[in-house]
Amino acid sequence: MTDSETMIVMSGVNKWYDDFHVLKDINLSVRQGERVVVCGPSGSGKSTLIRCINRLEEHQAGSITFKGIELDEDTKNIAEIRTEIGMVFQQFNLFPHLSVLDNCTLGPIKVRNASRADAEALAMEYLERVQIPDQADKYPSQLSGGQQQRAAIARSLCMKPEVMLFDEPTSSLDPEMIKEVLDVMVDLAESGMTMICVTHEMGFARTVADTMIFMDEGRIVEEGPPEGFFNAPKSERTKLFLSQILSH
């Protein structure tokens, strides 16, 4: 049923917060190397959708598989899957009591059992890639928002994940810092990383997305390649949303 290239399959996924039906019959399939951008109004379930993929949230019905492994109560599966799926948060969530370098080496050392020297070499490689190698010995609070988010991306990349999830990575940044984070994300996309991004940065979406997804009230309303999505959206709801966020 799944060919070798398919990485993530969500079928018939439903989720409730008490009485609130936050995800409704989600069907989604992501190929290796595919770049998916998810947009939609706030409260539409975008964040919940991607948080279900590394099981920071549990779904109550349907199934989610990662490379054929089902996400269920089996903790061993979950831990294994999380090492293969990186996540970047809106609020960065860097560890404030550790230096940037230690933020990056914690996972490789504790989860992958890497030696400190190897982990630090790997961390420096990725800090170079996000262009903040000179910040390695500083603490997160000493960095600007843009630098913190780039450090958070480096921290995820140090686990050498096969998929990267981005949960509104630029939404809490000052405008002049958004570009430096998006540049890193474009670079990552061009390197062939499988990515699922929740974002309102439509310029970024046009540049990198293979697939656009529009969500509203817990459903996937529209799904398709960016040309059709931006130029000729099928649903009225998508048209309205795009006209509101692209009007200026």
């Binding site: 090492t83 969530n93 009591h97 996972g107 504790k110």
Partner: protein, 294 residues
């Protein structure tokens, strides 16, 4: 007029005048209404006395009492921490029963005043638990060398069983309060930190150990320091159950010498010096830990 760059205004002078007037009034009442005759001559000999046998100054009752108070506080903090580890494990258990028991324990202690608790528990522990543990027999059978060490750690040998009962009673109370402080500290670490830990593949236990707990520790040092100082002061409660710490001995001296003000002023000053020194040390510690907090 300015002091340390702060400008003094009329209201500062008014407040200052009020404080001076209040002190003056109390002094006046004591001098002229109570007609209290101050006599400090007996106090120094209760701090240190001249020992004829060895020909040197040795600590007397008040200093011995202070040492007992510090011993009680130290051991109480230690025993309370052990109880707290057990409470913490029970509280985060996935089983309902351990969670319920630890919750009940904390609420039980927090909602009973210390005096009834102390009386009830002390008599139970002293009369039932201590003989069971065989502490008195153990002390009797000690070699002289071990006895010296035991006396250094727990005070006079004949009072160790009594001392231990007091420590256990106080620990059981302190543990409930410390448990709440630590719980608040853990809850104050943002949920995103745990999620970030999970997202790089750390197990729940690893995330707690490397991410949540180090941050929680930084947050709980100030309230924990406060709790420690409260404990030094609250240890005076065990005077009620005849443990010979500072307040108990002060009470005896005050009565036998009939010098209430003098004895209690000195005793209060001794508590103050110990508590304030601790506050200063903890303040420094707090500044060092707090450097990299967001």
């Amino acid at each position: 007029m300015t002091i340390r760059g702060q400008k003094l205004t009329l209201i500062d002078f008014v407040i200052f005048a009020c404080v001076v007037a209040a002190i003056g009034y109390v002094a006046y009442r004591v001098e002229n209404v109570l007609i209290y005759k101050w006599d400090w001559s007996a106090i120094p000999s209760y701090l240190f006395r001249w020992d004829e046998a060895t020909g040197s100054l040795i600590p007397n009752l008040l200093i011995k009492g202070l040492v007992t108070t510090i011993r009680i506080t130290f051991w109480t903090m230690l025993v309370a921490s052990i109880i707290d580890v057990v409470l913490g494990i029970a509280r985060t258990s996935s089983r309902l029963f351990p969670r319920l028991v630890s919750w009940a324990y904390v609420e039980f202690i927090r909602n009973i005043p210390p005096v009834p608790f102390l009386f009830l528990f002390y008599f139970f522990i002293a009369s039932q638990v201590m003989p069971l543990l065989g502490i008195d027999d153990a002390i009797r059978d000690m070699s002289p060398g071990t006895k010296v060490v035991a006396e250094l750690l727990f005070g006079p040998a004949n009072l160790i069983s009594n001392f231990a009962s007091g420590v256990v009673s106080l620990s059981m109370m302190a543990a409930a309060y410390i448990a709440e402080i630590v719980r608040a500290g853990v809850l104050a670490v943002p949920k995103g930190q745990l999620e970030a830990g999970h997202s790089i593949g750390l197990s729940h236990l690893q995330s707690m150990r490397y991410i949540v707990l180090p941050q929680a520790v930084a947050r709980v040092v100030p309230p924990l320091a406060g709790q420690f100082i409260t404990l030094i002061k609250d240890s005076s409660l065990v005077a009620l159950i005849s443990i010979q710490e500072l307040s108990f001995l002060a009470m005896e001296i005050a009565i036998s010498e009939q010098r209430f003000f003098e004895v209690w002023i000195v005793t209060g000053a001794m508590y103050f010096v110990v508590c304030y020194s601790c506050a200063l040390v903890f303040g420094r510690l707090e500044r060092r830990i707090g450097v990299h907090r967001r």
